[in-house]
C-alpha cells in the first residue's frame, strides 16, 4: 500500500519532458515534489500562472502570489502571469498537456466525480469541470476507498458527475489502473505488498486483470 506521498511519486513517473501540466488540490499538488530534475515541465495554476515554483521560504511569502489551492508559492524562471480567462483559454483550448486531479469517484467508463461536497452540500467545482472537458490527458490521484471503506472505483458514479469518459489512468494506494475503451478498470501495477484479492474486494466496477501484474518498483512497503 502506498502513502499519499508515494502515490504522488508514482504519478510523477508519467510526466514527459516538455509538458505543460495542471495539478489539482490534494495529492496532485504533492506531485510537484517528485518531478525529476532532468525534465523540463511547466506547472500551470488556473488562477493565472504558468511556472509554479516550490513553496516560498517564510521570508519570501507574497500574498499576491498563490496557487489554485490558495497556498503561497514561488515562480520559476521564465514564468508568466495572466488573468483567469486566459488561464482557462489554455485549458479549454488544448494547450495544457496533462491534468492530475483528485476525485471522489471514477466510474468504469472513465466518468469522474470531483465536486467539493461537504455533509451532502455541493460547495464548488472550481476549475475541475473545465479540465475534465479539455484535451489534457487526465490522471486521477486518490485513495482506493472512502473513509467508510466503500469503493471509489465504481460501476457508475454515485456522486454527481463532473465529466464523462475523460479519465485516462487512476493512481491509488493499491495500484495503477487504465480505463479500457470498452469500459473497465485495467490493473496495470499493484502497490508493494498488495494482493490481487484486496484490489478485487475493494473495487466495485469491472476490474480487468490480465496476465502477471507487476508490483511497483522503488517503493518500500508501508
Amino acid at each position: 500500500m502506498l502513502s499519499k506521498e508515494q502515490i504522488a511519486c508514482r504519478i510523477a513517473r508519467e510526466i514527459k519532458d516538455g509538458q505543460y501540466i495542471n495539478l489539482g488540490i490534494g495529492i496532485p499538488t504533492l506531485v510537484a515534489n517528485y518531478i525529476p530534475d532532468h525534465l523540463q515541465v511547466v506547472l500551470q495554476s488556473e488562477n493565472g500562472l504558468l511556472g509554479i515554483g516550490p513553496y516560498p521560504r517564510s521570508s519570501e511569502i507574497n500574498p499576491d502570489l498563490v496557487n489554485a489551492g490558495k497556498e503561497t508559492i514561488s515562480m520559476v524562471k521564465g514564468s508568466s502571469l495572466f488573468d483567469s480567462a486566459e488561464a482557462f483559454s489554455m485549458i479549454r483550448g488544448g494547450h495544457i498537456d496533462m491534468a492530475i486531479l483528485g476525485a471522489l469517484e471514477v466510474s468504469e467508463n472513465g466518468d469522474i466525480s470531483n465536486w467539493k461536497i461537504a455533509s451532502g452540500l455541493i460547495k464548488g467545482v472550481g476549475g475541475a469541470l473545465d479540465l475534465v472537458a479539455s484535451d489534457a490527458k487526465l490522471l486521477v490521484a486518490m485513495l482506493h476507498c472512502h473513509k467508510d471503506g466503500s469503493p471509489k472505483l465504481r460501476k457508475q458514479c454515485k456522486f454527481p458527475v463532473t465529466g464523462v469518459r475523460c479519465v485516462h489512468k487512476i493512481f491509488t494506494d493499491l495500484g495503477v489502473f487504465s480505463i479500457l475503451p470498452e469500459g473497465g478498470f485495467k490493473l496495470l501495477e499493484r502497490a508493494p505488498g498488495v494482493e490481487l484479492d484486496e484490489i478485487r474486494n475493494k473495487t466495485e466496477g469491472r476490474l480487468v486483470i490480465k496476465g502477471e501484474i507487476p508490483e511497483m518498483t522503488g517503493f518500500q512497503q508501508q
Binding site: 493565472g48 516550490p54 517564510s58 488573468d83 480567462a85 482557462f88 485549458i91 472550481g126 476549475g127
Partner: protein
C-alpha cells in the same frame, strides 16, 4: 485624458443600492477589493446579487457581506471555505449558482466583450448541463452559455492612473480585468494611484475605458488563506 478619480471608497460605492448586481474581483482572498467591500459593509445595503469566484472566509472578503446578510444570491465557482454561507444556504436564506471556474471567467469576459452567448465543453455530462442547449461541433458536444454583466464591478489593482488604466501584480490579477470590463460602473481600487502619463502604455492590463471610478485604498491587509513554506 478623462479623469476618473474619486475621493475614497465611500464616494465610489455611493450609488450601490438594495438589489444591485455586483461583480467582485479576486481569487480566494487574493486580489480582492478590500476597501470597496468595507465601504459596502458600512452602507449595509440588502438583497445584493454577488458574482465572485469564491465567497471569501467568514470574517474577510465577500464573507463580510454574507455575515451582514447583504447577499440574496451568490454566483461563484467554489464556496468551500465559508461556514456562514453554509448556514444561510441550508436555512434557505441564500440562493447559490455554481459555475465552473473557466465558464465563469469566460461568461464575464463575454459580458465585457459584447458576446451574448458562446459554446463551451465544460459541464457536458454533468448536472450543470441540465436545461442548457447542447450542440455538436466537429464531433464534440458543447453547452451554450450566456454572458454575465453587472450594475457595478469592484476590482482591485496594484497601480492605476487617473485615466483609469490598471496594472495588476502576481496572481492578484485573476478575475479583476474581466470584471472591470463587464461592469456598467466599474470601481477600481489601487495601492498606488499616479497621474495619467506615468504608466507605460504597453504594460496596461486594464485600459481606462473600462473604469468609471478609481481611488487609492489604504492599509491593505492582504490576508493569506493558506501559508505554505519551504524549509
Amino acid at each position: 485624458m478623462i479623469n476618473k478619480k474619486v475621493k475614497d471608497a465611500e464616494d465610489a460605492v455611493r450609488d450601490i443600492t438594495d438589489g444591485s448586481v455586483l461583480l467582485l474581483g479576486g481569487f480566494g482572498l487574493c486580489g480582492i477589493p478590500e476597501a470597496g467591500i468595507q465601504a459596502l459593509v458600512g452602507k449595509n445595503v440588502k438583497g445584493l446579487t454577488c458574482i465572485s469566484n469564491n465567497a471569501g472566509v467568514d470574517d474577510f472578503g465577500v464573507g463580510l457581506l454574507l455575515k451582514e446578510r447583504m447577499i440574496k444570491k451568490l454566483i461563484a465557482s467554489y464556496v468551500g471555505e465559508n461556514k456562514e454561507f453554509e448556514d444561510q444556504y441550508r436555512a434557505g436564506e441564500l440562493e447559490l449558482e455554481l459555475i465552473p471556474q473557466g465558464t465563469l471567467a469566460e461568461r464575464i469576459r463575454a459580458g465585457g466583450a459584447g458576446i451574448p452567448a458562446f459554446f463551451t465543453p465544460a459541464g457536458i455530462g454533468s448536472e450543470l448541463a441540465e436545461g442548457k442547449e447542447i450542440r455538436e461541433f466537429d464531433g464534440r458536444l458543447y453547452l451554450l452559455e450566456r454572458w454575465i454583466k453587472a450594475d457595478f464591478a469592484l476590482v482591485k489593482a496594484w497601480k492605476g492612473d487617473t485615466a483609469g488604466n490598471l496594472i495588476y501584480k502576481g496572481t492578484a490579477r485573476n478575475f479583476n480585468p474581466l470584471m472591470a470590463a463587464a461592469g456598467k460602473i466599474t470601481i477600481a481600487e489601487v495601492e498606488q494611484l499616479v497621474p495619467a502619463g506615468e504608466l507605460d502604455p504597453n504594460q496596461i492590463h486594464t485600459p481606462g475605458i473600462y473604469v468609471q471610478r478609481i481611488f487609492q485604498g489604504a492599509g491593505y491587509e492582504k490576508r493569506i488563506e493558506n501559508i505554505t513554506v519551504s524549509p
